[in-house]
Subunit: 265 residues, 2 copies
């Protein structure tokens, strides 16, 4: 299948996970805002059309405008955003069959006026199903990030996601271990609620990079629920580190791949 570049978009970063609820959207949101705060032009595409949590986590929800056939993304914290949540607000679930889903995601990728972006972060739906596969087979993805918690159950599914990206020859930027440990706000002792270190170990075993170890911090969840990403605060330092590592790995991957033709509008 052809992978046409998206005009103006330099790097397309896919954030996936084998399992849901590991913090994939939290990582995507804070990565995009972190990239913007480092001075890069950043976009965020919420491809989780069934449970689009990006609007809540970014604290923005309006109907986007369309000029002609192009949809204008919304902008928040310096990030251009598109989400199914903007088009289907409220509690009614979308129950779409595969082909229709495929066409919506293509619309998001190519029918949105992304403009010039250094990084477009795509928050994939969790899992390794056909929606994920269609998307990564048709989009010119620069590199993928796999998010996991340290629990064996989550790692079991993260390995499946790594395999999926390998199968379709998408370079893996690395694995992120989320909810690594909790510092008790009362006694400041550490608890490894979901175990610890499995992300790094799995990265070594699968010979992919390890990008970050992100703590299970109640402030992260509060940031998500109130639409104020933690990366904008002092406690968000690990997410700034993550953004820097993603930039470095993207440059490495670009070198490995050799020179590319860029199409400018």
């Amino acid at each position: 299948m052809p992978k046409m570049p998206i005009p103006g978009v330099k790097n397309l970063i896919a954030v996936g996970s084998g399992k849901g609820g590991v913090g994939k959207t939290t990582v995507s949101v804070n990565l995009a805002v972190g990239l913007a705060s480092l001075g890069y032009k950043a976009g965020l595409m919420d491809a989780d059309v069934y449970g689009p949590n990006v609007p809540l986590m970014m604290g923005i929800n309006r109907t986007p405008m369309a000029y002609g056939e192009r949809i204008q993304p919304l902008e928040q914290f310096g990030v251009r955003i598109m989400s199914m949540g903007f088009l289907n607000p409220g509690d009614k679930p979308l129950v779409w069959r595969g082909p229709m889903l495929h066409s919506v995601i293509q619309q998001f990728l190519r029918g949105v006026e992304w403009g010039d972006l250094d990084y477009l972060v795509i928050d994939l739906p969790p899992g390794t199903g056909d929606v994920q596969l269609s998307l990564i087979q048709t989009a010119p993805i620069t590199g993928a990030i796999v998010v996991t918690t340290p629990s064996d159950v989550s790692l079991e599914d993260a390995r499946k996601a790594v395999f999926m990206f390998h199968q379709v020859k998408v370079p893996i930027l690395g694995i992120v271990e989320n909810m690594s440990y909790l510092i008790c706000p009362h006694c400041h002792e550490r608890t490894d609620v979901f175990s610890y270190g499995g992300g790094r170990r799995t990265a070594q075993e699968m010979q992919v990079h390890f990008l970050a170890e992100l703590p299970l911090d109640p402030q992260v969840r509060i940031g998500g629920d109130t639409g104020k990403p933690i990366v904008l605060r002092d406690e968000g330092a690990p997410y700034i580190e993550l953004a820097k590592n993603v930039v470095a790995r993207t440059e490495e991957v670009a070198k490995e791949e050799g020179p590319k033709i860029e199409i400018e509008e």
Copy 2:
């Protein structure tokens, strides 16, 4: 669409969630084992074919035997189990399109020799997509449980799941709030990592029952990762309570629905 009963199976309980990673499989596993330990004949069908974690959490993984055209479920802790993980062990992901998925799930439901069961617990895939919809439209589900964490992000998706069950007229047994709070193993102070009480509040708002509040206990995760469900230990008491509430609600729902024809083999 016709909803043919499954011969020998008295009650079919679907466990769903709008969002992944909220502990749906943990609840399903501990509910099934809890029902068995209360003396009921219980089965567990893992319908999450992309990320089948039931084998790991139940500590069992062998290829099931087939007699003629019927597949024999495996048995562990008194529960009869069927999972895609038994048929596709290892890390290679399944990437199946919708129709094939549909046929596998129908096989699990009707091609497995479940035998006489008081309760067959179905661990649905997370979300409100077409796999979930096909299954709940074709299976004679007695009642559904919706699992959520107390975070707003999770509750946003849980409401979608409640709507989905309403739409297809599946009675809702109730909402379960998982990862309600953490008791620090060091200082025994409580931390509401993912907030608290949102499950009960959402149940009230949506006029459905509230079934249980389950703590975020590292022992639950360890039980899952080592294949020894927490419900078998003292710390698992909240899951025994959950199983009792599910039994009570199932009886209520059966009364509301009026007498049913049961087909015996």
